[in-house]
Structures are given as C-alpha cells and as structure tokens.
Amino acid sequence: MISSEMKENRYIGPIVNSLDSFFFGSDASTSHAPFIHDAVDLKRYMFFVIMAALPCALAGIYLYGLRVVAVIAVSYIFGVGTEAIFAAVRRQDEIHEGAFVTCMLYALIMPPHVPLWVVAVGIVFGTVFAKEVFGGTGKNIFNPAMAGRLFISLAFPDLIARTWVLPLDTAGMGGFSVWISDAVTGATPLTLFQRSGEISNIAAIFWGNIGGCIGETVKPFIVLGGLFLMYTRISNWRLPIAAIFGLLLSSVVLHTIYPQQCAPVLFHLFGGGFLFAAFFMVSDPVTTPATRIGKWICGVMVGMLTVLIRTFTGYVEGVMFAVIIANIFTPLIDYIILSMRYRTARRGVR
C-alpha cells in the first residue's frame, strides 16, 4: 500500500514512515551482540507517559467541559505539525515520539478557558525554541511543555489571569455533556492566598474542587499516574520524591519563619501545579541530570525554588520557573558531580 517512493520523499516521508511504524511496528533485527533486546521502545515509553496522564485529562473534561478536548486537539495539531516540519527539514526518518507527550502535558497545564490561538502559540514556541533549536529529541535543555506554558503566561498575562474558572457542578455526566463550563470566574487558591492570605479548604484543593489548570486540579489522579510511572520504571523515582522532599523541607522552614507570607505545608504541596510538575515534568529524563546524586539535587532544587518563588516574588505559580531554572542548572550539576566522582582518577592521569 505504501510505496517506497512515499517513504523516501523528503517532505511526506517522515509522516508516512511514522504512520507506518506507528501502526505496524518495526521488523528490524539485531546485527551484533547483544542479539536479544529489551522489548520496550520509545513508542511504548512515551505511550506510557500519555497513559499515566490520561486520568488527569479525563478529570479535566469532567470538570471543565468538552472544550478541554479542543485544547488538547489544538495542542496536538500544532505541536506534532511543528515536529513534522522539523523532521522534514532535518531529513529524519520518522517523527520522534517525544512530541506526543509534550503536547499532552502542555494541554494539561493550560487554564480551561484559554483562547485556542494562545494554546497554538505556546506549543509552537515550546517545540521550536525549547526543543528543536537545540537539536530535537534528547538534545533539548528545557522541558518544551513547561517552556511553552511559561512563554504564554509571560506574554499574555491578562489572558491567562482572566481565564480561571471554577469547575462545573459535578453531578451526573459532569463536563462530558457540556461544551464549556459557565464562566464563573474564580481565582485559584494560590492567587487567593497572595491577594488576601486566605487559605482555601485543603480537602477541596486535594479533590480538585477549585479553579486551576485542566489537568492539575485532581490530585489523586496525578499521584496515581505518577506512581504508575515510577512503578513501571518509565520515570525515575528519585526526581519526584526529591522534589516533594525539597518542597516539604523549605515550606516547613519558611512557614515557621514567615507565617504570614508563606502558606502552610499541605497548601504548598497540593496547591497549584506542583504535584503535576513533580510527577510529569521534573521526571522528564532529557532535561534532568544523568547522575543519581544530580537527580536528588535537581529535584530538591525544584521543590525549594517553588516555595521561594511563591513566597517572595510577585508570581503566583512558582513551579514553572522552578522547573525551567532547574533545567538550566542540569548540565552544571552533572558536570560537578562527574568531575568530583572522577577526580581521583584524573589526578592519576596528570
């Protein structure tokens, strides 16, 4: 059905090949030792991340209406489209699977009523400037989903701030029968705290009965997805655990010193997008250190920076900046850890 000409075509080749291997798999065989291979490949690897994020996406639809599906679709169309263009420019065989995860995670950290063109701008920015200009899959310094989200929240602060809504009255079909939830504008718990020092009900924050991003509000699903990824070893358990540890440590210390400015521990842990970022963004292997100690340092850094930024800056949501800053430090952390590790050996050389 698929001719070899189509596969080798410079422009549609990557798309044809991707569809081919997506549906029919690969028949490549080993050419040298080891002659057997682990059965996991990047398709399954990335698919598992999407699967882990799926409960959050369904919860988002339930809470905020079917428009969420449109947000996810726009994110996929523009994200994968950009990736396909770069695959053609780079003459890659296939579109690499990482983009599918990026688009999903990016859609889940969008405010529910965000204009669709903003979604498109953000994902294109994230894919191009956080990933492709550095060399594509595996070479990126920043988490593309987080970079896209950060870009739109800095570029369109008003649009983002206006689009927070409270979830639908959750009964029966919930959001599955409604296109869009009524625009009952409600601030997120973090915004409320920053404005008036009001602490929302922790139970409501935990179960998602608050305003927030599409996939970030229902915490049990996030924890479930994160634990699933850790159990299957798709994500490294050290990073999320370290991030949570860093957040708990710094929020306990800061709350004791500045009880007015810094919210209590559980509010920090469940408020905003921290848990989602910890389980799905911080655990992104490409943009975090390769060394084990480095992973701990990076995770703790994200946790601490989140609390610091939430407490001492004008920005409400600290975790976006925290993840991006930790991404910047990743090569340095790895460099220091590796040179400390191999210091004795090097002394012998010189």
Binding site: G25, A39, D41, Y45, T232, Y342
Partner: protein
C-alpha cells in the same frame, strides 16, 4: 548447608523465566569424521600423513619451562592437511597399531592443567605465583545451563579437580562462586568441597553478569571492576563449569582434554541438549547430526549478550565456543505493536504483562523498535555492573573525545552488553564502546599508567 559468604555488586539485571537447561540432561556424544584444529602461533609437530592418537601433542610453543599451552589432537586418525593455521585430522577406516603411548611423561599433569583453561591465565610460568583460583558455577544468562545439570554425573570429577588444584597450587585459595538458589540442590558437592580448607564458597547475586570473571574478581577483592587489570594479572586462574568438568575428566583418564562441552539450544525444532564434541569439529557436521536446518535461522556462538553470530557454516568449534543458540530470524510486524500486552516479552521496565504473569519469555532477534536519539533515561547507567555511564561515554566516543571517555573510565567496561540490551532507543552502546576501547588502548596508552579508580 555449607558455610558461605555473600558477595554483591551494584547494577546488573536479572533475566527471569528465560530458558534454562535444567534437570538431568546427560551428555550426548558426537564423533565427526574429521576435525580441523587451529594452533595459533605455535610450532607444528606433525606432518601430513602422520598418524596421531587422541591426546597426542600436535603443536606447542617451547619456552624456558619446556611447554606452554600445548595443542592436542582431538581425535585418532591421519593428518591430512597442515597449513599455516590449522591441522586437519581425518578418521582412519583401517586400524593401526600405534606406538605405546606413554602416560608417564614428566609434564603430563601440567599439560593437562594448561590446556584446560578457557581464556584463563595466558602465561603461567610459576606454580607458586597463583594465589587465587576462582571457579564460576554461576548461570545468569538468558540461555543457560543450571548448575545441577552440570554436576549431574560429574560431582566426583569436579571435586577431584578442585582437590588436585589445591594440592598443585599450594599458595592458592579456591573460591567457588555460585547462586544461592543452587546451594540446596548441590549439597553433595558443597559438603565435599567444604572438607577442603583452602576452598570456600561465595554466593553471588542472581543477576547478569555475575558469571563475568572481572566482576567476580572485583566482588571477591572489593576493588572496583576493571577489565584491563584482569588482562595482565598472572596470579589468578578462572574456571567455569565445563572447563572444570573437562579438566577433572582429563585428570581421571590421564589424557589431555580434547573435547568441549557445548550446550545447544534450538527453538525450532525444539532441541535442548549438551553435546560433547572434539575440538575442531565442523559446525556443519554437528548441525546435520542434530538434524537442524539453518535456513532462516541465526546461529549464535557463546551467549546471546556477548557472543558472535556465525554466518560461515564451515566454522570450526574451538575451545572458546561455550554454547550454541539457534534462534529463528523471521520477525513479524504486528498491528499497533507498542500497545501489545507482552505476556512473553522481557523488559527492564515493568511495562509488560510479563512482569506480573509467570510465562516463559520468547527469544527473538528483533530490535523491538527503531533507532532513536538518546533521551537520557538512565537505564544503561542503572544496570551497568561497572558503575559507568554508558550513554555519556557513547556521546564522548561518537564525538571523538577519547580522552574524555578515558576520564569517565571507559577502560573499566567489561563488555557485558547489558547497556545495549536495556536501551529503549536501541542505540548500539556495547558495540560502540567495545570499538572505542580498542582505540583508547592504542591512542591513549600514555594516559593509562598509574590510574586510580573511583568506586
């Protein structure tokens, strides 16, 4: 149960529910019509037309001690061809009365000893130099032979061999490495061994590559794993089970060991056996004896993770051929294959049903996916038994930064192949690192002296 000490190492990977030749498999003998024996750079002592008997010396290198690694004829017959590399011996149909074969030559026991090593010590000059003998009774490869299968019928022979070694090498200590789950099944062997006070039993973790001798040595001494250190060492000897058995039998029969024990596994037709064949047997003869059709199949000699593919059917089995695995080559594409439940698929990740359902795993030569860029997932670093970062080394090597790679201790790689196995991006890490090590040895030799290793 006998006393033992427990050893451990970081990393490694346990191949669960793969194939294991277990139970009471008796050895199947195969006598080919002709053999072809390689003699390396030694001096040939036979000419075309000579009669040789099984166990006669056909080549040797003389040094000050008289002999070193002699090569023996593995069958009785007439020498038909002698060329630069090989001696071919063909079975005689008529019988000949040969000169009486003296079994009381001075060096007979040493000859037996030297020829029994499989890649052990290369230059043994002094018996007193040997301080450690390590016997590896470990099977952690995906296709392996269980220890009780090796010891079935051979317990006495192995104990004899160990006793001889401890008598012969008076300064040495013998360590038998085995898995904990085997200990109860080989109680006769362990209790006999524990009578020897120079012999101790060490339990190694049931993870691949516990049978690697560099790793075993590092576990015994507590030093960091180093492959380059092991190459130059002359104070230790390594035996695996087949060579110990052959060595023991040779001692009992007072004849040099000229056969090899070859576990053979074939998926279709289902063949699981251990063959005893003379050194130099042609692979083609053996396969036709076993009635294996090699059309569309891949023949792998010496382990699935570290072995070599044999494409030439006139391949001659040598002492270093440790096993034969024959796997079907055809790989079927399947619809949406990344969604398959994977009852019989092995993976480091627990993302397949096989990690919860106890079903035997399938052996296939498929790469199970296509080549991608490294995403820094860190699986290779998690499983590396030497504690290296294979993906960082790969990055250095592919950018021609050999000194960087040496700084990251590429020379400690023990070639176990696990990094390539677990890589979800299907990057050929092991092959690349193996090639790179060779160029590191030549190009960075001046940097390799006086190195301390970080653990």
């Amino acid at each position: 149960m006998a006393k033992y000490k427990t050893l451990s190492f970081k990393g490694g990977y346990r191949f669960k529910r793969f194939l294991c030749l277990d139970g009471e498999i008796s050895l199947q003998r195969f006598e080919p019509k002709s053999v072809s024996i390689a003699f390396g750079n030694m001096a040939v002592q036979v000419r075309q037309g000579h009669f040789v008997r099984k166990g006669d010396r056909i080549a040797s290198k003389s040094n000050s001690d008289g002999n070193d690694f002699p090569v023996f004829a593995s069958m009785t017959g007439r020498v038909t061809v002698v060329n630069d590399e090989r001696v071919e011996i063909c079975k005689e149909i008529s019988t000949h009365i040969l000169d009486s074969y003296s079994t009381k030559t001075n060096h007979m026991r040493e000859n037996i000893l030297y020829s029994a090593f499989l890649g052990g010590v290369s230059q043994v000059t002094n018996v007193d130099e040997i301080s450690h003998i390590v016997i590896s009774a470990v099977h952690t490869q995906p296709v392996a032979v269980a220890l009780n299968t090796w010891l079935h019928d051979n317990t006495r022979v192995c104990v004899d061999a160990i006793t001889f070694l401890s008598d012969c090498y008076t300064n040495s200590h013998i360590t038998i490495c085995c898995l904990k789950r085997d200990l109860q099944r080989i109680e006769e062997f362990t209790s006999l061994c524990s009578l020897n006070d120079k012999c101790s039993i060490a339990v190694v973790p049931p993870k691949y590559p516990s049978e690697n001798r560099f790793l075993q040595w590092s576990m015994i001494t507590g030093q960091p794993v180093s492959a380059i250190d092991g190459m130059a060492a002359s104070e230790r000897m390594f035996f695996d089970m087949p060579s110990l058995i052959l060595f023991g039998r040779a001692l009992c029969q007072h004849q040099p060991p000229t056969d090899i024990l070859l576990p053979v596994y074939c998926a279709d037709p289902e063949i699981r056996t251990i063959m005893q064949v003379p050194v130099g047997t042609c692979l083609k003869d053996l396969l036709s004896f076993l009635q294996i059709d090699t059309q569309g199949k891949r023949i792998i000699a010496g382990g699935l993770l570290t072995g070599d593919e044999i494409t030439d059917s006139s391949y001659m089995l040598t002492r270093s051929t440790t096993s034969l695995t024959i796997v079907p080559e055809t790989i079927k594409r399947s619809f949406m294959w990344f969604l398959r439940p994977g009852r019989d698929l092995d993976s480091y990740t627990k993302s397949f049903a096989a990690s919860v359902i106890p079903v035997a795993k399938k052996l296939t030569t498929g790469t199970q996916g296509s080549l991608r860029a490294c995403i820094n997932c860190g699986y290779c670093a998690e499983v590396c038994p030497a504690g290296l970062y294979p993906h960082l080394l790969y990055n250095d090597v592919t950018h021609d930064l050999l000194e960087e790679a040496l700084e990251k201790q590429i020379d400690r790689c023990i070639d176990c192949g696990l990094c390539s196995y677990v890589c979800p991006s299907k990057i050929p890490l092991a092959t690349t690192l193996r090639e790179a090590k060779k160029s590191v040895y030549t190009e960075c030799a001046h940097l390799m002296h006086n190195r301390d290793y970080a653990i």
